[in-house]
């Protein structure tokens, strides 16, 4: 183990060096750029044998990943925002062909208007693409999760691509204390890659991407959905196994002071850490507040989430992306569905915040938390859905 001061982007590049995949294909886009640049340096210096393909577009980046993964290679890519949008059709082709590709997705807002800062509209738009999505709260989680992503993707019960999501600039570019493992330990953990049905097997020719019509298409999709369901257990197991070698164990949902909480905030990624500060402050005032953060978003860990919520009465859900016109943003919609299916009485209030990198201030967060507290006591009826920290007039 060694302790380094590194950005999350630097940590991903370092994890990629340690993993030494067969192929990396990527196209530069802010704020992902450093990942690609640093890794290109490792290739140029001969520190990895990886074939780095600096493509002419993100569409080709994912196409190279699809071709290389189907051929039998271990494959990694990284992108953000418009880059992910440009990959769109290929995301479905990667997951539909059950290719265990791993992607670092440095979250950034989508155009228009053009904006380079963080929100989750890029990855949220891809939430139905059949990729496993894991959201990281800080740089340490990014490093750790990136190493776990390969064994998750490549697990024989799963065989699906994985997106490791972290906040652009806020996490990607901030220097943080990170504990890194030795190369040997990383390689032991991920193991060597065993391709299933590779194109490059001269004695066993295979077909990828045939035309499948109404007689078989639905069975393909059903099997894919089943693989996604199985990922719940695999992500959990690998998170625990990672804990044994690193001392940092991971589950499906991260909880903070939820044991006896009456009210809670739910948020993905770095905002969960900010919410913890406010929860502490409210606790000092005698308000039993907690924070939950789904680490895994696809597949959605409904059971683990309900367990984590325990006996709370009111839940505020913070979404860093809107599903415009839906009346509820993505995280809240999924949590709401989980609560409804379980017959829960927890009341849910949803706020969209931080679009295009808009700072979520502690005072905004605190006043939302306090309105939840008053709602819990029946003193106030906040709107079920709205925007936080925005000029409304």
């Amino acid at each position: 183990m060694r302790v380094v001061a590194e950005t999350a982007n630097g940590a991903v590049a370092e994890a990629m060096r340690q993993i030494e995949p067969h192929v990396v294909a990527a196209y530069p886009i802010t704020p992902q750029t450093e990942v690609v640049e640093e890794f290109a340096g490792y290739v140029s210096d001969g520190r990895v044998r990886t074939r780095f393909v600096p493509v002419e577009s993100e569409h080709s980046a994912m196409s190279i990943c699809v071709g290389a993964s189907a051929a039998g290679a271990r494959v990694i890519t990284a992108t953000s925002s418009q880059g992910l949008a440009y990959m769109w059709e290929m995301l479905y082709i990667a997951s539909g062909n059950r290719l265990p590709i791993v992607m670092a997705l440095v979250n950034r807002a989508l155009s228009a208007p053009i904006n380079i800062h963080c929100d989750h509209s890029d990855s949220m738009g891809a939430r139905d693409s059949g990729w496993i999505q894991i959201y990281c709260r800080d740089a340490q989680e990014v490093y750790d999760t990136f190493i776990q992503a390969l064994p998750i993707a490549e697990h024989e019960d799963v065989r699906l691509p994985v997106m490791v999501c972290y906040d652009g600039f806020i996490v990607s570019h901030s220097l943080a204390r990170i504990e890194m493992m030795t190369d040997e330990r990383v390689r032991d953990f991920i193991g060597s890659y065993k391709a299933i049905y590779p194109l490059l097997d001269r004695d066993h020719p295979v077909i990828y991407g045939p035309l499948v019509l109404y007689d078989y298409y639905m069975e393909f999709k059903r099997q894919q959905a089943e693989a996604m369901n199985r990922a719940l257990e695999v992500v959990f197991e690998i998170g625990k196994r990672f804990g044994k070698i690193s001392g940092r164990s991971y589950g499906l949902v991260s909880s903070y002071r939820m044991e006896d909480a009456d009210i809670a905030l739910a948020a993905l990624s770095s905002t969960a850490r900010t919410a913890e500060v406010i929860a502490d402050e409210l606790r000092d005032q005698g308000i039993r507040a907690g924070v939950i953060s789904p680490r895994l978003f696809r597949p959605f860990p409904a059971k683990a989430l309900l367990q984590a919520l325990g006996g709370i009465k009111v839940l505020g859900v913070l979404d860093r992306a809107d599903s415009i016109g839906a009346g509820m943003a993505p995280l809240a919609a999924d949590i709401g569905a989980a609560l409804q299916s379980a017959g829960s009485n927890i009341r849910l209030y949803n706020r969209v915040y931080g679009l295009g990198g808009r700072d979520l201030t502690l005072s905004d967060l605190k006043s939302f938390f306090l309105s939840l507290e008053r709602a819990g006591q029946g003193k106030e009826m906040p709107a079920h859905f709205g925007y936080l920290g925005v000029r409304e007039d």
């Binding site: 192929v23 044998r49 196409s63 190279i64 071709g67 051929a71 290929m90 991407g209």
Partner: protein, 311 residues
């Protein structure tokens, strides 16, 4: 190099019959001629289009080799991914076989939506042969115009009306565009000249880098022709100099592989096709002359380029 039909006839077919292409389809003939020249382990990349949908209807396949289709605009980048994996596996000491890679895509997937991926992949220098089976329109979706559709040709999106007579504007010269990438090998071919086409495939497959062959492909329903006229038209395209057979090495050395003994008038080629039917009417004489003039000029330009090229 000599193509020995007797030897080729004995080979196990890598592209088999039983596919659902039209009777007389030029794409099937092209695929068969190309696959005849494959002697080493190979992976095929196939862009969305006629050849792909008709040869891969699950759970059947016409391919006796590994084959991948991923999408429409990325035949070049998909096969480049396969090739990158092969190179990596060799560098890691996990692969010993010497593989070849072939991409098949139509003109829609090559001239238009797939041009960026093709340009990127050949510029990066991946080892693969890209075969464009060029039927000059989006035939798989019902004969819509593409960047390869010739001037004044009927297509379902450039119909012949009272105001507009077929496609306005000319087709782009993709062979020249790929040659401008200064890649090791670029050629034009026709399945009507099987010997020439197969020799070109053999040459291309020896290269440890990118190569591109643009093959004219008669399309039975899209061109409005009889199945029996398919190869006749593939020959007429060449003998009218509408589709000259030539090759360009490293973007410089240009060779015309076939000079027609007698250059036939373009009408010999056009008159068998419904898509050009309107050009034979008196009222559209000017359009026909324009098209003939374009063919003549392009042929002269090509001869000049080849005469003046480095040898």
């Amino acid at each position: 190099m000599v193509i020995k039909l007797r030897e080729i006839s004995k080979k196990k077919p890598l592209f088999t019959g039983g596919h659902r292409l039209c009777a007389g389809c030029g794409a099937a003939v092209i695929a068969r001629q190309v696959m005849n020249m494959v002697d080493e382990p190979v992976v095929i990349g196939n862009g969305t289009g006629c050849l792909e949908v008709t040869t891969s209807i699950y759970p059947f396949s016409s391919w006796n080799v590994s084959w991948i289709h991923s999408a429409f605009p990325n035949t070049a980048s998909t096969i480049a991914g396969v090739e990158s994996a092969w190179r990596a596996l060799r560098d890691f000491g996990e692969m010993k076989d010497n593989y070849r890679f072939i991409a098949f895509a139509g003109d829609g997937g090559t001239y238009d939506i797939g041009l960026q991926a093709l340009s990127g992949a050949i510029e990066r220098g991946h080892r693969f042969l890209y075969v464009c089976y060029n039927n000059q329109a989006y035939m798989n979706t019902g004969y819509q115009r593409s960047g390869a559709t010739p001037a004044s040709s009927w297509s379902s999106t450039t119909p012949v009306g009272t105001k507009q007579k077929g496609k306005p504007g000319r087709s782009k010269d993709l062979t020249a565009i790929t040659a401008a990438h200064k890649i090791p090998y670029v050629a034009q071919a026709s399945p009507g000249f099987w010997n020439d086409l197969m020799l070109k495939v053999e040459r291309a497959l020896q290269i440890d880098g990118p190569s591109f062959i643009n093959v004219i492909q008669p399309c039975i329903p899209g061109w409005g022709i009889l199945p029996r006229d398919s190869m006749r038209l593939a020959k007429l395209a060449v003998d009218t100099c509408y589709w000259p057979l030539y090759e360009i090495i490293d973007g410089r050395e240009c060779t015309i592989n076939y000079h027609p003994k007698q250059k036939l008038p373009l009408t010999e080629f056009l008159s068998l096709q419904k898509r050009f039917k309107h050009l034979l009417k008196d009222e559209n004489k000017a359009l026909l002359e324009e098209l003939q003039a374009e063919v003549d000029t392009d042929w002269e330009m090509l001869m000049m380029r080849c005469v003046g090229s480095l040898r």
